[in-house]
């Protein structure tokens, strides 16, 4: 039962028609609320993708608490340790010593030395001017058999340069060292969820005799290290672009950014970029397009004119998905997006012109805590936050695109929408699990 401890609030400042929404940030920033939709991955989940690696976080107790329990809920506490920063470290400026001796102490206590250690420093190290070069030089000298990855838990930097998410996805590959190039090996980088084997992207790679490497598929540390031999890195999410650029510079691997998108022309262009790189002929993908349209038609027959809401955690381009659905007759009523990415600009503009009344809602605005979260009619939500804020138990439970890609991805997504509209889900239970797709002991 929801107990409301404050009075009624209106939607002013948290909701706007898309025609009136400023791009990229429709809402004034202020105090922030955190909705209990926890399926997106955090730095602990992402770091655990390196097989056999160990994570050590160096920060104050309040920052440690969230990450230590993320690992515990994943059942990976044996790959996780902490060093607590205290007031005396700030006053005495002995942060370098604390990290070096703390990491050493932990490595000596562990039953087995891990092949790789991800050391996460925090906002406080940045502000104190901690000499991280000295720290890692000394650690590498003490433990030459351990690969140290310089990682960060510094949310204070989220509006300065690369975001913490971008940095994490880049540092995840920082351990890789140059290997002899294997022209028949291709990496997909930066995804947390494996791309569907049935997608045109993966089929193109596999059916043409290439080996696919993806950190989400690595079972051993050696498999992870062998990602360095691939001739090309494919990234699909905007947050992974810096990773691709970094590896292109460090390892000489070509970077192809083939964004996860929903426009037929752009999907075709992306797939043909890969075809061209592999020396294959360009394709029209007529059959695949037709299959996608048929799947959308079938979904529309089930969903009808029911309202649909989409949130930014479900797909990297909520405006792009909304456009696809509107073009195919669906009644997309709401987007839950605090700010759009530049990649969504074209589709945002299309929606302004063609679906001007569509509503855009904030998710972190203070009012969202107490705004009514009930829907008066059966509606479909795509994403956990959309489900939470609309109170709809008919929802597609995905984050980051859910591994669906290309025309095949649209077929699959349409299937999930249809299924979600028929079978209600337990929103309360499902959305509170951290890191959708990770192991969880709850």
């Amino acid at each position: 039962m929801l107990i409301n401890v404050s009075g009624h609030v209106d939607e002013t400042g948290v909701c706007t028609a898309i025609k009136d929404a400023a791009f990229p940030a429709p809402f004034v920033s202020g105090l922030e609320y955190g909705a209990p939709a926890r399926g997106t991955w955090n730095i602990v989940h992402i770091g655990m993708l390196i097989p056999k690696s160990h994570q050590i976080y160096v920060c104050a107790a309040n920052c440690l608490r969230g990450v230590v329990l993320t690992a515990a809920e994943m059942g990976t506490s044996d790959r996780f340790s902490t060093i607590a920063v205290q007031e005396n470290n700030v006053l005495e400026g002995d942060m370098e010593e604390l990290i070096i001796e703390g990491v050493s102490n932990i490595l000596e206590k562990l039953p087995q030395k891990p092949p790789a250690v991800l050391v996460f420093t925090a906002c406080i190290h940045h502000f104190m001017g901690c000499d991280l070069d000295l720290v890692y030089k000394e650690l590498r000298k003490r433990y030459p058999d351990v690969a140290f990855a310089e990682c960060y838990m510094d949310p204070i930097m989220r509006k300065s340069g690369l975001t913490p998410d971008q940095k994490m996805r880049r540092q995840l590959y920082s351990i890789l060292e140059p290997l002899k190039v294997n022209r028949k090996s291709i990496n997909i980088i930066g995804n947390n969820i494996p791309t569907d084997e049935s997608s045109e992207l993966i089929r193109t790679i596999r059916e043409n005799g290439y080996e696919l490497k993806d950190i989400t598929l690595c079972k051993t540390y050696d498999e992870y290290l062998k990602m360095a031999e691939s001739c090309v890195n494919i990234s699909c999410l905007p947050a992974v672009i810096p990773s691709g650029d970094y590896l292109q510079e460090k390892l000489g691997q070509k970077h192809l950014h083939l964004p996860l998108c929903y426009g037929f022309d752009e999907i075709t262009k992306n797939l043909n970029t890969l075809n061209e790189y592999l020396g294959l002929q360009k394709k029209e993908y007529a059959y695949e397009k037709s299959a996608a349209l048929n799947a959308l038609k079938e979904a529309k027959e089930v969903i009808g004119d029911a309202k649909i809401s989409i949130d930014y955690t479900s797909v990297p381009r909520p405006a792009g998905l909304a456009r696809l659905l509107v073009e195919n007759g669906f009644n997309v009523d709401r987007l839950y997006v605090d700010s759009f990415t530049e990649w969504d600009k074209t589709d945002f503009d299309w929606l302004v012109k063609n679906k001007p009344e569509m509503k855009v809602y904030a998710t972190v605005h203070a009012k969202m805590r107490v705004l009514d979260r009930k829907c008066s009619e059966k509606s479909l939500a795509i994403g956990q936050k959309a489900a939470y804020f609309t109170g709809s138990e008919y929802f597609v439970n995905i984050v980051e695109g859910g591994g669906m890609y290309g025309f095949d991805g649209i077929v699959r997504l349409a299937g999930l929408m249809k299924e979600a509209f028929i079978c209600p889900k337990n929103v309360r239970e499902l959305i509170q699990i951290k890191g959708l797709g990770c192991d969880c002991c709850l």
Binding site: L2, I3, N4, V5, S6, G7, V9, G13, S29, G30, L31, E32, G34, P36, R38, N42, C59, A60, A61, N62, C63, R65, G66, V68, L69, A72, E73, S77, S81, T82, I83, A84, V85, Q86, E87, L98, E101, G102, N105, I106, K109, L110, C123, I124, H126, F127, M153, P155, I156, M157, R158, K159, S160, A366, K367, R369, V370, Q432, C441, L442
Partner: protein, 375 residues
């Protein structure tokens, strides 16, 4: 090394303690932090988050605001949200970066109070201490700011101080405390701070005695003593026999006007160790001694006042020291995460603690007030 933990968890920090203590009172609590505190608190420290609205927010502090010392944005954002949401009070809690840059929270609180007309106060937290410190200060501030003076005492009435989900989860424990008090003839005026409104808590000065059920309630108890002369009793009425001891201590406190520690007759000895918050663990040790004739030591890994532990008990906050003290224990009663540092062959009795393992073992958190037979 004192600050390194290779194996175990971290207790809820001070800033979450503030939010937990003030959660149900209709105020607005702001953690002045970049981002991480928000999800940490609402995921791992707050079992009420999904079902009970409360105005708990972060400020979203950015690098440039910290470098430029831009307090104006914080003030503006709080004033703006308060004008939309009309909280009964505003509390601001700090985290590591505001500590580093010397943010003047009391001054900021004063500016906000002047602009909004809403009672506003700062809690001195920096994210480096435990919830005991944060929740304790927050409840004490409620006494200072909101309790009404000049109200008559009510015969055999009591406030329960220091009940938060961090120590008592959201099972039947708090109801059981109230039931035991009621059955012993006490009138429970308020529970600080679960299940009571700010209006009920304002009347706390009418109580003849206060019952402190965790360290988070002790600063409030001392403030109430200072403000109203109310004595307090430290102890949790666990199990029938120790509950009877607590009730007698409450009567004695009313009659003598002197505060009491209900469990201070026990001798700390034996090779069974309870790990946990001092008042809860000492009360459990006393209950087990009375009901099961068990000889128990308490190991407190959290901040506590020294006189809340008995001679022979241990205060040890770091992993190495805790491992050292557990070497010779035959039985350990503790949160399941401590199992990782107990010796092979040591009998381990699981006693999940929300402030340590969060929501992971919540379903297994027992109501020991009702009965200690589960141990």
């Amino acid at each position: 090394m004192k600050q390194a933990s290779a194996f175990i968890s971290t207790y809820t920090a001070d800033v979450s303690g503030v939010c937990s203590a003030l959660y149900e009172l209709g105020g607005m609590t702001i953690m002045h932090d970049a981002s991480g505190c928000n999800s940490t608190y609402n995921t791992h420290d707050e079992p009420r988050w999904y079902d009970m609205d409360s105005m708990i927010y972060i400020s979203g502090l950015s690098e440039m605001e910290a470098i430029m010392g831009d307090d104006e944005k914080l003030i503006h954002d709080i004033v703006s949200a308060a004008s939309d949401l009309h909280p009964k009070f505003i509390a601001i809690a700090g985290t590591p970066i505001p500590m580093m840059i010397g943010t003047d929270f009391p001054a900021i609180a004063e500016v906000i109070e002047n602009q909004t007309g809403i009672s506003t106060f700062a809690i001195q937290t920096n994210g480096m201490h435990s919830y005991i410190c944060g929740a304790g200060q927050a409840l004490a501030e409620i006494v200072k700011r909101f309790t009404l003076t000049g109200i008559p005492k009510r015969t055999k009435s009591v406030n329960v101080l220091g009940a938060t989900p961090l120590d008592y989860s959201v099972n039947s424990s708090v109801d059981s405390i109230k039931r035991r008090l009621t059955e012993a003839g006490f009138q429970v005026l308020s529970v600080w701070a679960m299940g009571s409104t700010l209006e009920q808590m304002k009347q706390a000065g009418a109580a003849e005695v206060n019952l402190v059920v965790s360290c988070t309630g002790l600063p409030a108890a001392k403030e109430l003593q200072k403000k109203f002369g109310t004595p307090y009793v430290v102890g949790v009425p666990m199990g029938d026999q120790f509950a009877s001891v607590v009730m007698k201590a409450l009567d004695k406190a009313i009659n003598t006007g002197k505060s009491q520690i209900a469990y201070d007759k026990r001798t700390a000895c034996g090779d069974t160790v309870i790990i946990g918050e001092s008042i809860y663990s000492e009360s459990l040790a006393a209950a087990l001694a009375l009901e099961k004739n068990m000889k128990v030591k308490v190991l407190c890994p959290l901040e506590t006042e020294p006189d809340l532990l008995l001679s022979g008990d241990i205060q040890a906050e770091d992993e190495d020291s805790i491992m050292f003290y557990l070497q010779n224990a035959k039985t350990v009663i503790a949160d399941p995460i401590y199992r990782r540092i107990t010796q092979p062959g040591t009998k381990f009795l699981s006693l999940p603690h929300e402030a340590f393992s969060g929501r992971i073992y919540r379903k297994g958190i027992p109501d020991l007030i009702k009965s200690v037979d589960i141990i």
